[in-house]
């Protein structure tokens, strides 16, 4: 009985602390120039570079733009904030508080999620206003964007567990992971058009399922069944959360 009460109250403590961590990140990092460049401008220029010279109707590329905007914006906050906080000693404040590592990881990831969904609304609005890109299933689009954002913000938190105070080191590792993801996820080349081996490789990328879900939201159709997309994304979220919490604990021993 007592144990249950204790564990319940710890869950509430953890959720409160996670939200406090997310709010702190929102107030502190959202307007940092390197966050804006890496999270908003980088995917935009990448998209424009890819879209230029293609015969495809630009409006049909909007789901791809939304997906890569989420990938870059969600995964950028923590790889910037956590090494900085290690350097100035504020990260130790989190570790020494009566908060579990999963709660710290969740709180850090939450700020990336909120930032990313906010930023990704921009290409959605551009698609609607400039290219009249229809949104056939707004609920699926929203769920897809949130899940995708949480998945990649957790991925950013996971990469930021690398014990360094140097932002550049973490960003280098992150780019080695996320840049290839753009090309093995069906964002620019539809999965159906990929040759066999390449298509199998894309099955290992969370962006594949995130993009598929977002496409579903826009076009009403996707490559995979919708529940498979949801299940795999949730699976990646849990895997990244668990691994990140484990690594933070391990690196602080």
């Amino acid at each position: 009985m007592v144990e249950t009460e204790d564990s319940c109250s710890q869950v509430i403590c953890d959720l409160n602390a996670a939200w406090a961590i997310a709010k702190k990140d929102i107030r502190t990092y959202y307007l940092k120039p390197n966050i804006i460049v890496a999270g908003l401008l980088f995917p935009l220029f990448m998209f424009l570079a890819f879209a230029a010279g293609r015969t495809t109707v630009t409006g049909s590329l909007i789901p791809g733009l939304v997906a890569i905007t989420i990938l870059f914006s969600a995964s950028t906050i923590e790889p910037v904030s956590i090494p900085i906080e290690r350097r100035v000693g504020t990260f130790e404040r989190l570790i020494s508080a009566p908060v579990t590592f999963p709660a710290i990881v969740f709180g850090e990831s939450l700020s990336g999620l909120i930032y990313s969904v906010g930023i990704a609304l921009l290409p959605v609005v551009i698609g609607l206003l400039a290219f009249s890109t229809p949104i056939l299933n707004p609920l699926i689009l929203f769920v897809g964007m949130v899940l995708c954002a949480f998945c990649f913000s957790t991925m950013g938190t996971l990469v930021a567990s690398y014990p360094t105070e140097n932002v550049g080191e973490v960003m280098s590792i992150l780019n080695v992971i996320r840049l290839p993801l753009v090309f093995i996820s069906g964002v620019f080349i539809p999965l159906a058009d990929l040759p066999g081996v390449a298509r199998i490789i894309t099955f290992g990328s969370p962006l594949t399922y995130g993009y598929d879900l977002i496409s579903y939201g826009f076009h009403g159709t996707g490559y995979f069944p919708i529940f498979l997309d949801l299940a795999v994304l949730v699976g990646f979220c849990l895997l990244f959360q668990y691994t990140a919490a484990w690594l933070y604990r391990r690196f602080n021993e």
Binding site: A20, V88, S96, A97, P98, V99, N252, E253
Partner: protein, 317 residues
């Protein structure tokens, strides 16, 4: 129940032993000083006690809660002020305090009440809505301590609380330490300012090379090295051979120049006092101050840690 209980605590980083099997306890409500030269193992010990690092061997408990197996329960009692003022420069003073309270699950109304009291106590209330990046070093330090107290901890870790601060901040912080002690809060103080530990702490531990070299009350520690006594003297003027002459007086073991005064270390202060007065008379010097001193806590620290003074430091100390 003791506030801190440490037994056989050991921490190794590969082949390096940072702390090697230390034992000590801190009583509930006690102000305890933890002294040692750089690299002695102070920070590693604090990191283990605050649940940030894990020991390689041994056990540490905070109010009976094991720091490894019951980490969260142990952490709930703590307030931590690290050596570096780890505040968020982009948040306001108030937001910093509120954030610290949220991490300890302090109810919002309590944060409001206690946060306001603390900011007022530390002289920060007027600047509470300014971003901390505009604060002076002393203000940042005071804010950091306010953040460490917002959860009303039973045990406060203070790592170098007054290092490099202005007089106003020093006075505020020392007063707060005294007030907390009166309220029954246990204080674990790490400082390089040995006089501060002497004045503030009921007991001190001196750690060196990862081992506890001594642990006792400051006065008992000083008595243990009573051979380190001294005569302190100041003259109305300085003659060229003064330092050499004083060093050569019978019974002088060491000379330390402290500002305009000379401190002559000896095992027989009364005999040396006569020698000094004789010397002054012979050379036409007026003695403007003279006194005999027992060993200071700093002497104890130097003796126990085996710190070597620089070659000319013995004279220029």
């Amino acid at each position: 129940m003791n506030a801190i209980e440490v037994s056989g605590l050991e921490k190794r980083f590969g082949p390096i032993t940072a702390i090697g099997g230390i034992d000590f306890s801190v009583r509930d409500g006690e102000t305890f000083g933890f002294l040692g030269p750089n690299g002695a193992g102070k920070t590693t010990t604090i990191r283990i006690l605050t649940g940030v690092a894990r020991p390689t061997k041994g056990r540490a408990a905070i109010f009976g809660h094991d720091v490894v197996n019951e980490t969260l329960a142990a952490k709930k009692h703590l307030g931590i002020v690290t050596e570096v003022s780890n505040i968020y420069d982009d948040l306001t003073g108030w937001q910093n305090v509120a954030f610290a309270g949220s991490l300890y699950n302090v109810p919002r109304a309590e944060i409001q009440k206690r946060g306001t009291e603390l900011l007022e106590q530390f002289g920060l209330l007027e600047r509470q809505h300014d971003r901390a990046k505009g604060y002076s070093k002393g203000m940042k330090r005071r804010l950091c301590i306010a953040m460490g107290l917002v959860n009303a901890p039973r045990l406060l870790f203070l790592d170098e609380p007054t290092s490099g601060l202005d007089v106003q901040s020093n006075l505020i912080i020392r007063q707060v330490i005294r007030d907390l002690n009166r309220e029954g809060v246990t204080i674990f103080l790490t400082t390089h300012n040995i006089e501060e530990a002497n004045l503030t702490c009921e007991r001190v531990a001196i750690i060196n090379h990862g081992q506890i070299a001594a642990i006792d009350t400051p006065e008992r520690l000083k008595r243990a090295i009573s051979s380190v006594q001294s005569v302190e003297v100041a003259f109305d003027r300085v003659i060229p051979s003064l330092q050499d002459d004083l060093t050569g007086l019978p019974g002088v073991n060491e000379l330390r120049k402290e500002g305009d005064k000379f401190r002559l270390l000896t095992s027989d202060p009364p005999a040396l006092l006569l020698q000094v007065m004789d010397y002054a008379h012979q050379h036409g010097l007026a003695v403007i101050r003279v006194c005999t001193l027992g060993p200071t806590l700093e002497d104890v620290f130097i003796r126990l840690t085996g710190i070597e003074l620089p070659a000319e430091g013995k004279d220029a100390w």
